[in-house]
């Protein structure tokens, strides 16, 4: 078998010819938004124009198609470091976490870890088993970065490596971070993690330019944390945790639009918070989080149901 793509007369479809067509499809990780691969794909497309590629039909027949019709992945304009530091104008991202629907499934966590290449043993989203007082109710409480309006972590950063954007997001520039970990000490929500080891990454992710909107690729010796997935918002999509939750625990949206969604329900932010007595964590500290919680009342699941998921946690 040789890998010559021009052997169109051959009756037998060669696997390698086949794979050539595949080249044009992009990698599909969340890190791919600023992908130089797109450029490569475009060039490939121009070159390939007029040539044909063979496909197999469902009935087993060979279909010859023009390479020009092989679709490259959609190109999303890449954002500059400055744009990422400024954030999206006119937006104010907000999250609402409905504690009455959480049963510690940790789908949010695994989707988030997968999308951001969070190292083993670490999590950006943690699901805490809360028992605040001896006779008070137990409940499951997922925590993300709170994206505080007055973030204590940003206050203490010596080099502007972590910054507050105009859309409310607290981002991290891992190319700037010196790894002093003062922000970790300053964060009362323990939402920051440190890349103690060299992150284990697929080569195509490693080759990407760092983006603070995807926090990819993670860099050794720097701090990372939940970034509210602004790359997804730019594409009009929800953060990975929101779409991964089967119970609709996470609502995400723009406070300026006053609308949030958990993927299936779209509601007014102000009405939801008013009607279900939404609150924020550690209000007394004055950090003014962008993440709101709905109290664990009228619960969908018993607390105990979540206990069996406790063991499934990565260790």
């Amino acid at each position: 078998m040789n890998g010559n793509a021009e052997s169109s007369g051959s009756k037998e479809i060669q696997r390698r010819d086949f794979l050539k067509g595949v080249l044009l499809a992009g990698i599909s990780t969340s890190c791919s938004t600023k992908d130089p691969f797109t450029e490569a794909a475009k060039r490939e497309l121009v070159q390939a124009s007029g040539e044909t590629v063979q496909l197999l039909s469902t009935t087993g027949e060979i279909i010859e198609v023009d390479k020009a019709f092989l679709k490259p992945i959609e190109e999303i304009p890449s954002t500059t470091n400055l744009e990422e530091r400024m954030g999206i104008k006119g937006k104010k991202f907000v999250m609402v976490i409905d504690l009455s629907h959480c049963r510690n499934l940790k789908k949010c966590q695994s989707a988030c870890n997968h999308a951001h290449f969070v190292s083993d043993a670490q999590n950006w989203i943690k699901v805490h088993a809360m028992h605040e007082g001896e006779h008070t109710a137990s409940y499951w409480q997922p925590t993300t970065c709170m994206h505080c309006e007055e973030p204590p972590c940003v206050k203490v950063c010596p080099v502007d490596a972590t910054f507050k954007r105009q859309d409310g997001i607290v981002g991290i520039d891992a190319e700037r971070c010196i790894g002093c970990r003062f922000c970790m000490a300053a964060c009362p929500y323990s939402s920051r993690v440190f890349n103690w080891d060299k992150p284990v990454l697929p080569p195509e992710v490693l080759a990407l330019n760092y983006s603070s909107e995807t926090s990819c690729p993670p860099k050794i010796g720097t701090v990372s944390k939940c970034d509210f997935c602004p790359d997804m918002a730019r594409k009009g999509e929800l953060p990975h945790c929101v779409s991964a939750c089967p119970n609709g625990v996470f609502y995400f949206g723009d406070m300026n639009e006053d609308v949030i969604t958990n993927g299936s329900d779209t509601v007014r932010f102000s009405e939801l918070i008013r009607d279900r007595s939404g609150y924020r964590l550690m209000e007394d500290l004055g950090t003014k989080p962008s993440v709101y919680y709905l109290p664990p009342v009228d619960r969908l699941f018993k607390f105990e149901e979540g206990l069996k998921n406790q063991e499934a946690s990565r260790s």
Partner: protein, 297 residues
């Protein structure tokens, strides 16, 4: 017992796949669920096809990524080939119908699309087919005596011309960044014999800085029409107050926005202390000069 339960859960196409499984040459391949849906944002725009791939893991379906899907228009031939797409982490992939097909799209009343997965290393061959009746929505927004009315007329392309489509379910929404908010008094409206439905717009909702909001009428995931919508911008929202907090000098802003007091006082102190240090270093130079000119006794 268990197999019975599985069968009871399985839908028709799953049975179809079971049949495929029997005829497959490679028994180790996994069966795949392939869904194909049709979407058109605005009248006159090129439609988009959305595919999703899932496979059964335990009792539930999980999305499958990196599956290559071939999309065809009308027939599974090289003439009808629209393109090939690859599913994302969420198991979905999109294809906008290429310009080359505009004429065919415009002239036909019924549109047939086929998605196939063939010669995949991991999965059985599978295909999915949809037939769409070409329709469009005309949206009109009117304000009279401060009553705001949204009216939609659904038209169906039949025998070369657009005709009203009665008994069609339609929604009125306000477009937002990540999802659509229901704008009608009810969730769903059904068109009358003229193909029309209307609702009052009562929302008090923020728009952009001018108070503009985008209102859309849409048919959602209809088996007959696919998902189509039509939208218009209108000044029915409350203008968004501009928020200049980002430009403020605060403890949590960047170094170019350091609060004045934090710039002035520390720098005054630093300048004065280092001024003295420089003076002291100058004194060393003075001592040195004296020593150099002084004759040893």
């Amino acid at each position: 017992m268990r197999s019975l339960r599985i069968l009871s859960i399985a839908s028709v196409w799953w049975l179809f796949l079971l049949f495929m499984d029997v005829s497959a040459q490679d028994a180790e391949k996994v069966t795949l669920r392939l869904d194909l849906t049709y979407h058109r944002q605005e009248n006159g725009q090129l439609p988009m096809l959305r595919t999703s791939t899932m496979t059964k893991v335990g009792k539930r379906f999980e999305p499958v990524h990196d599956v290559e899907i071939n999309i065809f228009f009308n027939e599974e031939t090289s003439k009808g080939f629209l393109g090939r797409i690859k599913t994302s982490d969420k198991g979905t992939a999109f294809l906008t119908i290429p310009n080359e097909f505009t004429y065919e799209l415009d002239s036909s009343a019924a549109l047939k699309f086929i998605a196939t997965v063939t010669d995949n290393e991991k999965f059985e061959d599978v295909s999915s087919e949809i037939e769409i009746a070409k329709a469009q929505i005309e949206l009109t927004l009117n304000e009279e005596d401060s009553i705001r009315i949204m009216k939609a007329k659904v038209l169906l392309f039949e025998e070369g011309s657009w005709k009203p489509a009665p008994e069609t379910e339609i929604k009125f929404v306000v477009k937002r960044l990540l999802s659509d908010l229901n704008a009608g008094e009810e969730e769903l409206y059904t068109t009358d014999e003229l193909g029309e439905a209307s609702s009052e717009f009562k929302l008090n909702i923020p728009g952009n800085a001018n108070g503009d909001v985008i209102i859309a009428a849409k048919i959602d995931e209809s088996d007959v029409y696919g998902s189509i919508s039509s939208s218009k911008a209108v000044k029915w929202g409350t203008p968004l107050m501009s928020d200049n907090s980002f430009a403020k000098r605060t403890l949590w802003s960047t170094r170019d926005k350091t609060p004045w007091w934090l710039l002035i006082f520390p720098n005054l102190i630093i300048a004065s202390v280092w001024g003295v240090i420089l003076y002291l270093i100058y004194q060393i130079i003075e001592i040195r000069k004296i020593g150099k000119t002084h004759k040893n006794l």
